[in-house]
């Protein structure tokens, strides 16, 4: 939200720097005094939480890279070396592994929040698209990171996921095979594959950080959406980011870290798979290969389609469709709180995603497969049918006239008036 700069250099040095590179002014205006709607609820704290986790993942990752060896025959042992011999190695490695799960947990909550409150609608389309891009990059980064321990799950996840590209053979014969061999650097997943995955796993987080900067920039042009989904009408309806939201975000972050800590210190392997403590064996696939929990819904969608190419297309579409959400939703109203019909479809969608997650963890047989297909259909129908159609026919509830009214339930503030009179 463009607002006049209020930065005042307090010393000669600050003034000198401000005339040459106004970085302090930028920080002051964007993160200290930035006008933020006063009615944001706790679902809005996940942006700050995500920023924290991204930084934590990069820091622990850089440190782990000082000890990790990306070689086929040494990767597994080098991680055990970190766990056993490196000072605090267990803490760093478990932080990074559990951190990946926490990253996705927070990112999914953040995405659902944006979806519920219509944060993707004009003028925030670019903000939303950048967010989906970050999610895509996170998925790629997490996949590559998971390959690095070079356990059985790592190895077979790489095999299966890279083989998705071979489905292109159905379009141009030989194209998929050529592409897959290019990705592998050989005729099977092996040392060269591990090495390049490691290199890219180191690179991608910095790309994510770059897109995050754009994401925040795109946020600060129109300013925050808010639970009422209506525009800020007067400065009275905002508060400066610091201290109001810095402290609120800080408190939420601590609550999140408590959850993080429970996994990290008391169940670090709960979210992982036992088979990944078996060194990679290219001659034997584990009886049940399952991705990490955060990929399970997508995995269920992949398996729901009984055709190789179509399955891959469904998988890719399930994420790509998110890019089009700003134009798929035809409703003028942002916040689902004021959309009596859409609301039901929204919660059905949340249930669908959770159900797909559960189904993704089960063997694709019998009823599991059946429901996998049902929920897959609803997943796409939500975006392609519900969003455009419901927006057209639904009669939204009356929107509050202003954020003040949304917060107080009435437009004016009798008590505050009284206080002013007294003052």
């Amino acid at each position: 939200m463009a607002h006049p700069s209020t930065y005042q250099p307090r010393s000669g040095a600050e003034k000198w720097l401000d005339e040459r590179l106004p970085v302090a002014r930028l920080m002051h205006d964007q993160f200290m005094t930035f006008p933020t709607p006063r009615n944001l609820n706790y679902w809005w704290t996940f942006g700050g939480i995500l920023t924290f986790i991204l930084v934590a993942q990069i820091v622990t990752g850089v440190v782990l890279a000082m000890h990790y060896i990306p070689a086929e025959d040494r990767a597994f042992d080098s991680i055990e070396h970190i766990m056993r011999d490196v000072n605090w190695g267990w803490l760093l490695r478990y932080s990074h592994a559990v951190g990946a799960s926490m990253f996705f947990l927070a990112a999914y909550i953040h995405t659902f929040r944006g979806l519920y409150y219509g944060s993707y609608k004009a003028p925030r389309e670019v903000l939303w698209i950048l967010g989906v891009l970050i999610l895509l990059l996170m998925i790629a980064t997490a996949f590559m990171g998971y390959s690095l321990p070079w356990g059985q799950m790592s190895f077979w996840a790489v095999t299966v996921i890279t083989n998705l590209f071979s489905s292109l053979d159905a379009i141009v014969p030989g194209l998929g095979t050529t592409l897959v061999q290019w990705i592998w650097g050989g005729f099977a997943v092996g040392g060269p594959t591990l090495n390049r995955l490691y290199s890219l796993h180191y690179l991608f987080p910095f790309i994510i950080a770059g897109v995050v900067v754009l994401h925040i920039w795109a946020l600060h042009v129109p300013g925050n959406n808010n639970p009422a989904g209506i525009e800020v009408k007067s400065p009275k309806e905002t508060v400066p980011f610091h201290p109001y939201y810095s402290i609120k975000d800080g408190f939420a972050l601590l609550m999140f870290l408590l959850l993080f800590g429970v996994f990290l210190f008391f169940a670090p392997n709960l979210l992982g798979h036992a088979d990944n403590y078996i060194p990679a064996n290219p001659l034997q696939t584990p009886p049940h290969i399952v991705p990490e929990w955060y990929f399970l819904p997508f995995y269920a969608i992949l398996r729901a389609v009984p055709d190789k190419l179509l399955g891959v297309i469904a998988l890719v579409s399930s994420i790509v469709v998110l890019f089009f959400v700003p134009w798929l939703d035809t409703s003028k109203v942002r916040s689902t709180s004021y959309r009596p019909v859409y609301r039901w479809f929204f919660w059905a969608f949340v249930v669908t995603c959770i159900a797909l997650g559960y189904l993704g963890s089960q063997a694709p047989e019998g009823w599991y497969l059946f429901f996998g297909r049902v929920f897959t259909i609803y997943y796409f129908a939500f975006f392609l049918v519900v969003m455009p159609v419901v927006g057209k026919f639904e009669r939204p509830r009356r929107l509050p006239g202003s954020i003040t009214e949304a917060v107080l339930g009435h437009a004016e503030q009798p008590r505050s008036r009284k206080r002013e009179a007294v003052a």
């Binding site: 607002h3 622990t60 000072n87 190695g89 009275k236 508060v239």
Partner: protein, 199 residues
């Protein structure tokens, strides 16, 4: 937004103000402690790890080393100079007055820290021909020449560091700078008449 219309500090009485200050200072304090505590593992991880600390030892058989010969072995990644000194070399080392030395201390971890740099304190106990030391110049860590037969051994017949010209005598004591200290004696012991274990 300093000119923000939201009243940041409306009428608060003194008690409320001081309570507010205490809480905010406590929050700031916890943030600082938490950050510092989280920083420590990130720094400590770079210290030598448990496998490096698990003192690997090196066994050396001295029997094949003739008088006047020198060998270099590796202990914890460092070169260890082992020299079977000639009587002349020993005599030369003994004849040097301690006052002539740049570093008057023995630098022998098997002896007290303040032991003087006599040849007796530098050489192997009761086996004076043997000099066993860490072959690293105390200036900036280069490896001095003088182990191989054809190499220049410096003016004092010991070792010569090619990097910055430090020279050591036949007891491994620095005689010409810039090195400030004598070469160090590692922990070692004789396991038999002709065998030593370093570390």
């Amino acid at each position: 937004m300093a000119s923000h219309e939201t009243p940041l500090d409306p009428v608060l009485d003194d008690d409320e103000m001081s309570r507010r200050d205490v809480i905010l200072i406590a929050a700031g304090g916890f943030t600082a402690i938490g950050t510092a505590a989280a920083l420590w593992p990130l720094l400590d991880q770079m210290n030598p790890d448990a496998s490096a600390l698990s003192l690997a030892t090196t066994d050396v058989d001295l029997a094949p080393i003739e008088v006047g010969q020198a060998v270099t072995v590796v202990w914890r990644g460092k070169p260890i100079f082992i020299r079977h000194r000639t009587p002349e070399e020993i005599e030369q080392a003994n004849a040097t007055p301690l006052d002539d030395l740049i570093d008057p201390l023995a630098r022998n971890v098997n002896l007290p820290d303040d032991a003087p740099a006599t040849d007796e304190n530098r050489a192997a106990p009761e086996r004076e021909p043997w000099l066993i030391m860490i072959g690293i110049c105390t200036h900036l860590g280069c490896i001095p020449q003088g182990q191989a037969p054809g190499q220049y051994k410096g003016e004092y017949g010991g070792w010569f560091c090619p990097c910055h010209g430090s020279q050591y005598d036949t007891a491994g004591r620095v005689r010409i700078g810039p090195a400030p200290e004598n070469m160090y004696i590692p922990p070692y012991a004789f396991t038999s008449d002709t065998k030593i274990r370093i570390g």
